[in-house]
Amino acid sequence: MQGRNFADATRRSMLIAGFGLTLAVGALAPATAQQPSGPPIRIGGTLALTGPLAQTGAIHKIVGDLFVEQLNKKGGLLGRPVEWVLLDDQSKPDVTRTLYERLITVDKVDLIIGPYATASILSAMAVAQRYNKILVHSTFGIPKLATYERQFPGWPLGFEPEKGMPTAALDALNSTGKGPKSIAIVTSKFPSVQFVAAGAREVAKSRGLKEALYLEFEFGTRDFGPIAARVREADADFLFMGAIGLEGNQLLEALEKLNYKPRNHFYVYPTPGPMASSPLGDGALSNTAFENLPPLNASPSAAAFAKGFNEAAAKAGLPYTEPETQAGASWSAWEILTGAVAATKSLDDKVLTEWLKKNGADTIIGHISFNGPNNYGPDLMRIKQVQKGKWVIIWPKDIATPGYSPQAK
């Protein structure tokens, strides 16, 4: 995920994808006034509407509702209305497994779409595999585990995010001429971030950075005081945190109580709103698939998605209403599934699988291809940074938000 060639390719792919997507949307809506008719195409799925992952589950629900609503307004799919059969998996992988069994065998849905979070997606994948169903999912964090041939990721983070993510973050910092010489790695034991932190350790070693600290803490830790004391004592140039959700904010707040602010800091999957809105988040780095920023929102469909999401999120009472990775990947998963149905005019899982493997999909994130190991194509993730109280894309340079560049201390 470095170098001008990649950046050019990324920009080109964005423009092509945006153009292609506009055509695809047009193809989906040959006669926008025409009402869909006939029995609905039923797409079944679950989401973490309650439980510890409900914060993010709410984002995916908003996206799904919005997508299906817009799809039906534009004529539905194959001339038929689309119905999303949504069940609450309570953030529990075991419940997810049972509910996908029910969706396929009892509710007899035509298609399924993935739930939220790696563990639940893995559960759904096992059920999909048993019934040979195609499964398009949005935010699966450990690509090496996605071995089912009919699964397709809507989140193009590459086959080895544990290498790609820290490499891109260090490239961004090095581009400022103030590249870090030492690193402190602190990670939650949540599986999809822990392996990225372990990868960061290898990347840092290969680049000759001094490892000042490596710590693992339990997911759900509330008291970050002692961890903050150790981070302060290590005083590394770069804090790389395997954080999911609010853990990054919690560590920053504990560090603030010790009058310490990390010089450069990266968080794997932070909750975007609290990090951007907190004064402590200034300079924080993370990765992203989509932001409501140029050039990612340049295509009419991406702009319409961002506007629709803003409005729906505000209506749902979410404190942070900007679409980002979760919303973008969720939307992209819907685009992949329905785009394949529209292109093949089929609901057959085998037909859809073959078409997607051959053609990939145009999405708001870019053109996603499935030609790599476990159907993971090129890494389309970008590095973002909190600057002036908002997230902006800063790497690769050629896809950076106009007027912004990486900041390092």
Binding site: D223, N259, Y320
Partner: protein, 282 residues
């Protein structure tokens, strides 16, 4: 490991332990005197925290006014819950299921009103920290710890040195004889329930001041507070403070000297050791 790191970690443990004591105090009193294992107490704490966020954070009401208003409101909620428990004759063990159900309902209501997303009360009134040598004392944590430990001592003193406390203990030992001496058992039980609710309000206020909130985090402190309440002895505020600080400091030192992922094992290891070595204590 430097002395500063160790000292700062112990301080952090004292603050964490103080919060366990603050949250656990109402629960300990309910369990001992009402025979209610009140899991809804954690929901009360979070409901109070969200009300603090709403009024002090969103609507700009003075946080101390909010705290003062929450105390009587949650006193009434505590009384109401106890009235319902008495009305339906819910026993000690059934109370676990019933109050767990209430907590789940409260979680759903909180999610409905404030969404499932994280919210943060950016408190400026207790911002910053005080320095003593190389050690730093965050003001909000310091105030919370002072109030938590002060409340535990105040409740202990009330139980031991006032007529109300003596009457309550007498009623627990033998309600009939206590009643014959003019002890109004039912009213005292409602007073305990209301006090537990009011303590939940104080705990919730500080949870809002110190932490970012999400409805799914209602039971974040369940395990560790349970351990502290049992270790401290039911209805024993001084024991609760000692147990909470022991757990908090042990966790913090574990995090400072070994992998922090070992910290959650600490309270339960202490609890198991106590059950094995001193079973009559629990």
């Amino acid at each position: 490991m430097s002395a500063t790191l160790l000292g700062q970690s112990i301080l952090s443990g004292i603050f964490a332990g103080s919060l366990y004591a603050l949250i656990g105090l109402g629960m300990s009193l309910s369990w001992r005197y009402l025979r209610v294992i009140n899991l809804a107490h954690f929901a009360f704490v979070f409901f109070a925290a969200y009300l603090t966020y709403e009024f002090a954070g969103v609507r700009g009401v003075n946080p101390f006014v909010v705290a003062l208003a929450l105390v009587p409101l949650f006193f009434l909620l505590g009384v109401l819950q106890q009235v319902l428990i008495l009305r339906f004759s819910i026993n000690e063990f059934s109370s676990i299921i019933v109050t767990y159900g209430l907590a789940i309902v409260a979680e759903a209501v909180i999610q409905l009103i404030w969404s499932a997303d994280f919210v943060r009360y950016e408190n400026r009134a207790m911002h910053g920290n005080l320095a003593l040598g190389t050690l730093l004392f965050p003001v909000a944590d310091l105030v919370m710890a002072g109030i938590a430990i002060g409340l535990c001592f105040a409740v202990w003193a009330a139980l031991h040195f006032t007529w109300l406390g003596k009457a309550l203990r007498a009623g627990l030992d033998n309600p009939q004889i206590a009643a014959s001496f003019g002890v109004p058992n039912q009213r005292l039980l409602l007073l305990v329930a209301g006090s537990a609710g009011a303590l939940a309000a104080v705990g919730g206020f500080f949870v809002a001041v110190l932490y970012t909130l999400a409805p799914s985090q209602i039971f974040s402190w369940l395990g560790v507070v349970f351990a502290a309440v049992l270790l401290g002895g039911l209805g024993n505020p001084i024991g609760l403070v000692a147990a909470s600080l022991l757990i908090g400091i042990s966790e913090a030192i574990t995090m400072a000297v070994t992998a922090p992922s070992w910290a959650p094992v600490v309270p339960f290891t202490i609890l198991i050791l106590l059950l094995v070595l001193w079973p009559e204590r629990v």
